[in-house]
Amino acid sequence: MNQTETVDSNNEIFYKFIVSNFEALGILIAEQKIDEIKICKIPKHIDIKRITLPQELKEIKPLNERDLSNFKESIVKFVSKLSSIYPKEYLKNLYNNLNSLKVKQKRIVFFNCTGGYSRKRNSIRATDDSIYHELMHMASNSPDRKHVGFFYSPYVGTYMGQGINEGYTELLTARHFNNNKVTCYSYESEAASIIESIIGSRMTELYFSSNLFGLIEELKKYSNEDEAMQFITNLDEFRTSLDMKQWYMIEPLSKEIYNYLIKIYYVFLKMQLDESKINENDFFELLNKFLDDYENVKTFSNDLVDKFRETMIIHR
């Protein structure tokens, strides 16, 4: 069910919370305490002195009354789309955060920074182009405010997973709101896309439940823990090096990142082959396609690609 819904041409319902809390009704139905819905007005014989409501019901104004700049339509579209695609279990953070979200229009863009999301304040500053990317961050921000998607920051100034988080955020944004066109973090998006091709829809589940360590567990199926952690860290360092214009770092980092990605893709295919999920022909075709399809695989891991191709020719 969507956060906002049109009843008729003049009337809209603005849900304050419903999805994360509809267990209450579900339990009644499951326990067969109600089979037909009869609603009473106010409990009888109640002379009210004071009512205590959950804080979010007291503080939150409906969506249309909040300062959401020009983004109300985008927010409604975002919630509707995600609700129609993903199971409600994936969207708990979205519905929790939506109640207190603050959004402001970003009018001046410095250094190509078109938007930002503050996980602690649950607030967005965005342009029309960046709003969906920032809303993705909001939808994956956990209640402890330490995990956002695959980003994890236990203390101020200490973090991990920024690269993979930005990459996957942009990949999902492009997929659902921009006709698959990635507009930023293209390098990280490609890396995220390769991982998704290996671990499948579990990646989305882990992203929306803000579970970086779950992702590392998945990667450990195809590499050891140190390699998986190093990959995540390398991807973080890649972005930092770009931002700080440390060009000499880019190539060695990229090589390490892509050597890792090629290696785990190879292991993934090999496991599929060993489990007879694919045959030998599929194995070589998929590996070949992988080596051809991804731009950065060719750019940064030429030696490894050549080695794989040689192996493939020998085997065939």
């Binding site: 419903i18 209450a24 109640i46 009210i48 002195k49 009512i51 019901l57």
Partner: protein, 85 residues
């Protein structure tokens, strides 16, 4: 983890009643806030209630008076019921 949202009502004679909130929303054309809740008391017959509440006034719940408002609330509950089933 269970995360029930509760509403607590203290009556003028000092009784405390707790209700489990099913959903809360506002309607754009009335500008009012609505709350649907249940006592879910194992010993009594379960009732579902719907009222108008005021975020900035913790002393009153008002009755819903118009058919249009009732219609919206019923539709929401039937939809939830359908989703759950």
């Amino acid at each position: 983890m269970k995360n029930d949202k509760m509403m607590k009502i203290i009556t003028k004679d000092g009784l405390v009643k707790e209700y489990k909130i099913i959903c809360a929303f506002s309607l754009s054309n009335t500008g009012k806030n609505y709350i649907v809740y249940t006592d879910n008391d194992a010993n009594c017959e379960t009732q579902i209630y719907a009222s108008i509440y005021y975020p900035d006034d913790d002393t009153k719940l008002d009755e819903i008076t118009t058919d249009e408002e009732w219609e919206v609330i019923k539709n929401i509950l039937y939809k939830l019921k359908a989703v759950k089933e």
